[in-house]
């Protein structure tokens, strides 16, 4: 089965637009980012690689440290390393700005 993770980051500035980047290919991930009416960021991760919850939480936390946004984010992951995920988050945010 697919591992699903939900990570919430309270507060943050709402984003204006939505964006979609990436692809579910080996070592990569797809990312959907959309505005939300909630006063928080909600990140839903679906991944076929189990056991990396700590790394996911750390990468997401660092991203919100740098960019405190409120948004709905979905990540469909096929074994992207934290390096790739961090870059995709930046790319998605830029595409949504």
């Amino acid at each position: 089965m697919i591992e699903t993770l939900e990570i919430i980051n309270e507060g943050g500035t709402p984003i204006a637009r939505r964006a979609h980047i990436g692809v579910v290919a080996s070592g990569n991930c797809e990312l959907l980012i959309e505005p939300t009416s909630e006063p928080r960021a909600r990140v839903l991760i679906r991944t076929s690689v189990r056991g990396y919850e700590a790394a996911w939480r750390a990468v997401i936390a660092r991203f919100f440290e740098r960019h405190p946004i409120a948004a709905r984010i979905e990540i469909d992951d096929f074994g992207a390393t934290p390096s790739v995920v961090a870059l995709r988050l930046e790319q998605a945010l830029e595409a949504a700005s």
Binding site: I2, L32, D76
Partner: protein, 267 residues
Amino acid sequence: MKTRISFAELSARERVRALLDPGTFRELIDPFERMRSPYLAEQRIVAQSDDGVVVARGTLGGENAVIVATDGRYLGGSIGEIGGAKIAGALECAADAWARNERTRVAILFDSGGIRLQEANLGILAVAEICDAIVALRAFTPVIAIVAGRVGVYGGMSIAASLCSASIVSEGARVGLNGPDVVEEEAGLAELDARDRPLVWRATGGRRRHAQGQATRFVTDDVDVIRAALHELAIHATPIAPIAPKIPIDPTLSLADFDRELGRRFS
């Protein structure tokens, strides 16, 4: 030196956007609709939000158009229930439009290994529906196949591509029914060494298919060139006659002999 834009380097979405007239791209059932395959999660595969298929409307040289594309990077561009339905549905809608006298040009960007094995019969049904839709649409308008990605087109989707009115193939693309590994396994190393990459491209690459009369246009990996070829075939061409092979194909020749013969005639 580098002024051409590589078509193969673009994502499926970017390819469709690049072919349609600037600013006219409107995606149907886009990733945000989250129409994902319901069958993959239980097989430990993450479903992509567009199921590896992009369907978009826009204009082509000012005329209404529908372009569909498979995403070769997601599960090899393979066709499952959802992606197949998106393609077949788009083609059927185009046929409906023609029935209402609304001209709609059509192109299909094939970058696909064929049927998605994980969805088995649903993939087969989907491809059957796609083939049906192509044939129905051909009564109204040329249906143009473009094979210019890194996967090429194989399996059931190569049959669908062959049913199109005309095709544009690139040098890097391969067109075949069975993949090289399958050919090697079934017919033996002497027939085809799948590791001999130049041979694989010589046997099934765009240049060969065009030389054999199985492809209408042979192009470089260049967005502008492909777009121009598409305009020519989709809009300006009169109904396209069936393609006659430039050389007679003796089905009893081994691949090696055929290759030698082709080399002799086209060197």
